[in-house]
């Protein structure tokens, strides 16, 4: 296992860096209480808008709260929204994409026209409409982002399914009298898994960014729980001139998280896609 990890790191150094960032993010989210020196909403008397120092690594905000602690807790929102959305969206996209690609015909035609219609709307319009109806909140954010991501991913998975469904081994299975359920679970799904994994990892970066954007617009997790996007858009922007660290650190966190997910996704694609196997980066 360690040898495999070492080989991956040598072949894909950027991918390994991405994996490292993702792991760090997961650890921050899981052990925020232990990592953060202060609570995310604890004001520190006499420490309003202090610049980064030994006492407060990333400085303090206008409500005298430790920025490092808030960035650490903010990872929890990014990770929760990111992974929950991708899990749900991937499941939905796989169901829609595989069934549509495999069965084809009128069913495929109807499903794909619905997907077409869905994709024809600008993504921000869809998300804002959904959020306006459901209201702000973590769960609603996940639902809104899932609806959008699932539609996009289902189209890619459908393509992969169509390619796999025309393979000779699928034809052979069919000739041997295998039912749809067996063909899908034993032959189609294992062969589109690489595509699904790649979509999921690359999607994680996009979802993190979308979560930040929605929090920026006020549709994210209600304060005082920190979210990087909300930290950036709220007081971060207001005090940009006097306390730039209030905006810089959440911005850096978003950039790092997106970079990490994207690099990992990119490397996984190279490793899992047989056509790209052997490519180094």
């Amino acid at each position: 296992m360690l040898r495999a990890v070492g080989r991956f790191a040598r072949k894909k150094p950027l991918g390994a860096l991405g994996a490292l960032i993702v792991v760090a993010l997961l650890l921050m989210a899981a052990f925020a209480e232990r990592i953060a020196p202060y609570g995310y909403d604890d004001p520190i008397r006499g420490a309003r808008m202090r610049p980064p120092s030994a006492a407060h690594w990333l400085g303090t905000d206008n409500l005298s709260r430790d920025m490092w602690s808030r960035v650490v807790y903010g990872a929890r929102v990014s990770v929760t929204v990111g992974f929950a959305t991708i899990a749900l969206a991937t499941f939905l996209a796989t169901v829609v994409g595989v069934s549509s690609g495999y069965f084809g015909g009128a069913y495929d035609l109807v499903v794909q026209r619905v997907v077409d219609a869905w994709l024809s709307f600008p993504y921000l319009v869809i998300i804002l409409s959904v959020m306006a109806v459901l209201g702000p909140g973590l769960l609603n954010l996940v639902v809104a982002l899932t609806i959008l991501s699932a539609a996009v991913n289902s189209r890619v998975i459908r393509g992969a399914t169509i390619a796999v469904a025309q393979s000779t081994y699928v034809e052979a299975a069919r000739a041997l009298g295998c039912g749809h359920a067996r063909i899908i679970t034993r032959h189609i799904l294992p062969n589109v898994t690489a595509t699904v994994i790649i979509l999921a990892t690359i999607g994680l970066g996009a979802v993190t960014l979308a979560e930040s954007a929605l929090s920026f617009l006020g549709f994210g997790v209600p304060p005082p729980f920190p979210s990087w996007g909300a930290m950036l858009s709220g007081s971060g922007r207001t005090y940009m001139f006097r306390a730039p660290w209030m905006a810089v650190w959440p911005g850096v966190a978003i950039s790092l998280a997106v970079f990490g997910f994207n690099m990992l996704g990119d490397a996984l694609r190279d490793v899992l896609d047989p056509r790209l196997r052997g490519a180094t980066r």
């Binding site: 006020g218 209600p222 005082p224 709220g234």
Partner: protein
Amino acid sequence: MRLSRRELLALGGLTLVGTAVAPSLARGQTPKRGGTLSLKTWDPPHFDLHGAGGISYKIHIPLTFTHSRLLKHKAGPQVQPGTFPLEGDLAESWTQPTETTYIFKLRRGVRWHAKPPVNGRELTAEDVVYTVERFLTLKGNANAYMLASVAKVEPLDRHTVKFTLKEPFAWFLDILANPMAVAIIPKECVEKFGDLKKPESVVGTGPWMLESYRPNVGMTFMRNPNYFIPGLPHVDRVEMFVDEDKASRIAAFLTGKYDLGTEFPGTIDRTDWVQIKDTLQSKRPNLKTLEFTANVMSHISMRTDAKPFGDVRVRQAMSMAIDRRALIDAVFEGVGAMNPPVPAALREWSIPFDQLGDGAKYYTYDPKEARRLLAAAGYPNGFPGSICFTTYGSTILVDAAQVIVKSLKDIGIDARLDTKEYGAYVSTCFYGKFDSMAFGPQTPYLEPDNFLYGQYYPGELKNQSHSDDPVVADMLVRQRRTFDVAKRREIIFEIQRHLAKQQYYVQTPSGVYVAVWEGALKNYGPNLGYDYGGRLMAAWLDR
């Protein structure tokens, strides 16, 4: 009178100096006609201030340029912000023959804007009657309660209007002067357009006429050449720009685009002010500023008709949990004012804290005592709750809400912010439709009656806390019936003393406005309220 030789010489010298200086002073003070005033505004949802949604300041502000009221508040540098002396607008004079009767003599020769469908016809008493009846009866007018005391309004002749009230209402004249209430409108516009939502229907008798409206971009007003006060307004053109992005409007203000501060009412938020004031000194050295306490007051409202907020000790504990000084430091840059039930900004009616009596202690930060009160009420471990909230697009408000949530958490009240979209919030929580608590700013009224009667009288639409206190209700009615100002003030102080002990709402501090205006804008005095047009009517540009 006997003058010594020295005194006589001094007097002679002063006369000479005075003779030399006076003409230049006079030249400096002589109003100039012309110029364009540039302001930042908000995009109005429509222009019908009596219709549904007409409660919005986004409608009221532009209409203060185009419409007149029976009375108005005096404006200018001589008026102290937070005070609202009355003067006639369309009314030339008025009398009050009985406690429930008012007779207004209208100015003669007042003409509507020379625009169709009214085409400059003369304003008559019938127009006033039509407007008041529409204000009171139009479905969806959330401000109709302001004139709920009116039983009948009738024309006595072409230029005389009589109001008969159902009961004495000492604030009646103040309400007529309030730009939130009755701007006089022409019947022809309603008949032609069906309502007053369209920009074409903006026809008034005010100092400026709406020339164009560009949705989400801005609007232009032109001087009304037939305005009923000869020589006014001095400014020929007013350009108003919608600028929703704060960073953009601050940048525009720095470059000199706007003549008034970009936030309501012609101010710059203190959080921005402390960041840009040094830059402004070099870029716009002629800017004038004046600071005065804001009448925008946020409070926590709660369901006092149910557990746990029905217990006064819980409410007192909540008030004592709030560190108001820390709140001022955190969100108002350390410059703010503590508010009793009537905001401190209404300086004539807000009770000073040293006169608040026993209730004053509930405005002091004492989490230990707050926890003791909660335990005594049967909640030693606190309780969970939710706070209905909307951001109003203000980071200051979001920061204040976070401080409130944390303060309540510190005494065991685990309150979750239930953030709603603005429209959803205003149609529900703003009118008391919530399960637990709500937090947010209240309409910045100019009279204490609206802060008190609306929020505390049982059954009132804005009684968000559902308070039903017969002692308060009795005093509220009494103050409305007391025309002697000193006596009325004493009742209002007494109401505030009682409310301080009851804490039906937990008031939070207000900031102190930094009103900012271009030095070339002369004879302008900032004040609270939506009456931008009224404050700019006699101002002129010296550039």
